[in-house]
Amino acid sequence: MMREEARVPRLTQLDPHPVGRDPRFTGPDPHLTEHVKCIAVVGLPNSGKSQLCNSLTGTYALVSNYPQTTVAVSTHRITVEGKAWEVTDTPGLHGLFIQSEEELVVRALLFEHRPDVIVQCVDANRFRESLLLTADLLGLGVPLVLVLTAVGETARRGIQLDTSSLGRLLGVPVIASPSPGAGVPELRRLLLGAIPAPRPLEYGDALEGAVNKIQQLLPPVSPFPRASALLLLENDPSFTGATMNGRSAHVEEIRSGLAGTAPRMIADRRTEWVDEVATQVSRNTPVVRAGPRFSETFARMCRHPLYGLPLLALFLGLLYVMVVYVAGALSLFLTMAVTDPVVRAVGILLPQGFWKDLLIGSHGLLTLGLFNSLTTVLPILSVFFLFFGLLEDVGYLPNLAILTRRVSAKLGITGNAVIPLVLGFGCKTMATMTARTLQSRKEKIIVIALIAFAIPCSAQMGLSIAILGAHGLRYFIAAFGFLAVAEVGAGLLLNRLIPADSEGQFIQELPPIRVPRFAAVARKTGYRLLWFLREAIPIFLVAALAMFAIERLGVLALLKTALKPFITGWLGLPLDMVDALLLTFARSEAAAGLILKMSREGALNGVQAIVAVILITTFAQCFANIAAMFREVRARAALLIMVSIYAASLLYTGAVRAALTAAAGALGL
């Protein structure tokens, strides 16, 4: 979606199986003659990597309290004491043995570009889990710095981590970062003097012997021969082919020469080491509490069938009130205070004719372009993003995913696919990209199609609420009820149509429920709005100009005549909706802004508002999401999804209109 589009160009899309090296990492820099050192920031999902990168580089990437906020690698340049460094933010990683596709991207980054320093974010809440990754990273022989995040949270639970003894044990510098952004000056200082860590983890004679033998089989220039040998020994299916050139039979022989199965032996040794380190470093002082902590109770309530649904309804209700009353009032105020006076002034200053129409006509640059984005759409998005950002920071969405899991299982979504689907309510593009973590092709296609079809992204949702709110709460409930029916129906249908393949098993880490940090949420909202403005205003202006042009050339009138039976007959909408439909091809917000204006001016009745909202939610596809779809599934499948969605959207919207007209009296709409 739009606020992420601003980010997409900055992302480095790494091929999971890169052939050559990315010149951005190693090629000569035109501005600098010296070698630019690379820092890779890695860690478990939701361990605060993006937060750390933001603090380190002074830039901004989205941070949230749930896993998979970052699904691709992004790089920024910083200067530390006059030297240039490249800081690379990465998606979550559990270990070098790969568990999903975005982890493959991180391993490819480490192996192909061999960063000069690795900074690992160690989530103190999941200390042992993080140490498993540390065990792998130490084996690379690259200078490593550990940053302990969320230590404040663990301290409140009665667990103290001794940073200095951890550093001594591992032989690497360790920094405690009790709150987001803390410890960054120290990190900058440490980067200069970081040296390769001594290799601490010995796997015992049998395994070491096997590792040595495999190392000798590797091509002479292999990156990280020891880590590669271990991965081959562990039989990581994503690692075998590329490096071995048909020597895998030897590896198989070495593997079968061991007394046990290599993956289990290695895993056992690693956990043994993790236990050793963890018991020496952490101290438990039991915290006496009268009952369960509020955050735990709250999380449990969010996931609970009986309490979770009322909570969801409460959040949606709050959202409705905020958007309709707060944002709506703000938008009306801005229209009266800014739009109307300017339009009036231009009307007085300019004579009737071309220039007046170009600026303030029904497709004017000011009316349809600038003011549509600034005074109609922006206030609504501000309020919505603020509210949504709070929910993100609390960590509500993954817990909601648990609640909706039973329903989604019926739609053929059995594994970890629930999370991308729920994230679709934030940004469809990001959600589509998150779908790459899914193993099953069937699930991937269903999820990507469902995200694109009837899930309103946050911008669409905010504007839809505003459009429907102009008519009343029951119109809002009806429209979102119809969208839910469409989504469930589409899921059931796709589940029947697409043949089953490997069924994903559902194992999902849930983020801790946190009290939202208002400053962070405000900052995030600010950036989202900034991205929206930077990107949307030019598009709004160009779209307005294009509309103006086709109106002048008479094409619009022709189109309206041609589409009349469809728009007024099948969809039962006023003919001016053609303008909105055309605008959806530029940006759905532009269309939504126009519909909101029509709705407020009384050009749409309640039923028409419902039909219009369903139409733009299902029909309007943003370009970034279409691009993401083509990246994640094969072009043929993506094309098929797109065509089906357009057809289904027009059919369904018409059917809803017919049903509503028939039952309008009974429903009181």
Binding site: H94, G95, F97, Q99, N125, R126, F127, R128, E129, L132, L133, T154, R157, I159, E234, N235, P263, R264, A267, R270, T271, G291, P292, E296, T297, A299, R300, M301, R303, H304, P305, L306, Y307, I402, L403, R405, R406, T414, Q505, F506, I507, Q508, E509, L510, P512
Partner: protein
């Protein structure tokens, strides 16, 4: 099949018929679907295992002891395969009783906490081990799905389908020796392990087996195996947190 297993099979059938009422030649013939030849039954009589009184059949003391041991081993085997390995038990367990020695069966029985019923719900004859430690009537190792909400337990073993799953669970610290706490069992299982909350399907939860530690020995503990998941009526949906039951 050699003669001894044929004979053992007949003894097991007779035991099962006895459990349902009286054993007669006619019922035995029916249950074996024509595979019963007259001389097999005669041989059992010759060996002094079975008494025949016209149509009615009954065990001698020796026959009853042997049949009891066979049935016990068979049903303990089913429990082991069902509870611990989480697999289909029908085909694997039928050979079980012909292989295992009494001490091994008692060992497995102890490990499983002296189960009283087989997965089908039939009684498992008590062994010496059960009589000695009669006060321990609760199972020691159970799948995660049988924990009470709010209960904490130590992981005994994890049955993984693949290396990937082993890595996934190990990296989440779900491995033998770690402590897990069950937070929720509907709509998904949610456990806490090493400070993280982890949600999972029933299938994954069933593959994680835990030691029931500090389970108070109770006189009567109804078997809770094969509890249907997700079919609970709404009034049994509980928020949990401080444990329920017990």
């Amino acid at each position: 099949m050699n003669r001894i297993t044929d004979r053992d099979e007949l003894l097991e059938r007779l035991w099962q018929l006895g459990e349902r009422g009286a054993a007669t030649v006619e019922l035995l013939r029916e249950s074996l679907k024509g595979r019963l030849s007259g001389d097999e039954l005669d041989r059992l009589q010759e060996d002094g295992m079975v008494r025949r009184d016209a149509e009615a059949l009954s065990f001698t003391a020796r026959g009853a002891a042997r049949a009891e041991r066979l049935i016990r081993t068979h049903r303990i085997g089913e429990r082991l395969i069902h509870d611990v390995l989480g697999r289909e038990f029908e085909s694997a367990a039928c050979e079980f009783e012909h292989i295992l020695a009494t001490e091994i069966v008692d060992g497995i029985c102890t490990l499983l906490g002296h189960p009283r019923e087989c997965p089908h719900g039939f009684a498992i004859p008590q062994g010496e081990c059960c009589r000695v430690s009669a006060r321990w009537v609760q199972k020691i190792v159970v799948p995660l799905t049988e924990l009470q909400i709010g209960q904490t337990a130590k992981v005994a073993w994890v049955y993984t389908r693949s290396d990937q799953q082993l890595h996934r669970l190990t990296s989440l610290q779900i491995r033998p020796g770690s402590i897990v706490k069950l937070h929720q069992d509907y709509p998904s299982y949610v456990i806490e392990c090493d400070g993280a909350s982890i949600a999972m399907d029933a299938e994954v939860a069933r593959s994680i087996n835990v030691w029931l530690e500090g389970a108070a020995p109770t006189e009567e503990s109804p078997p809770r195996h094969a509890r249907p998941n997700f079919t609970k009526p709404w009034w049994r949906w509980r928020l949990g947190g401080r444990g329920r039951g017990n």
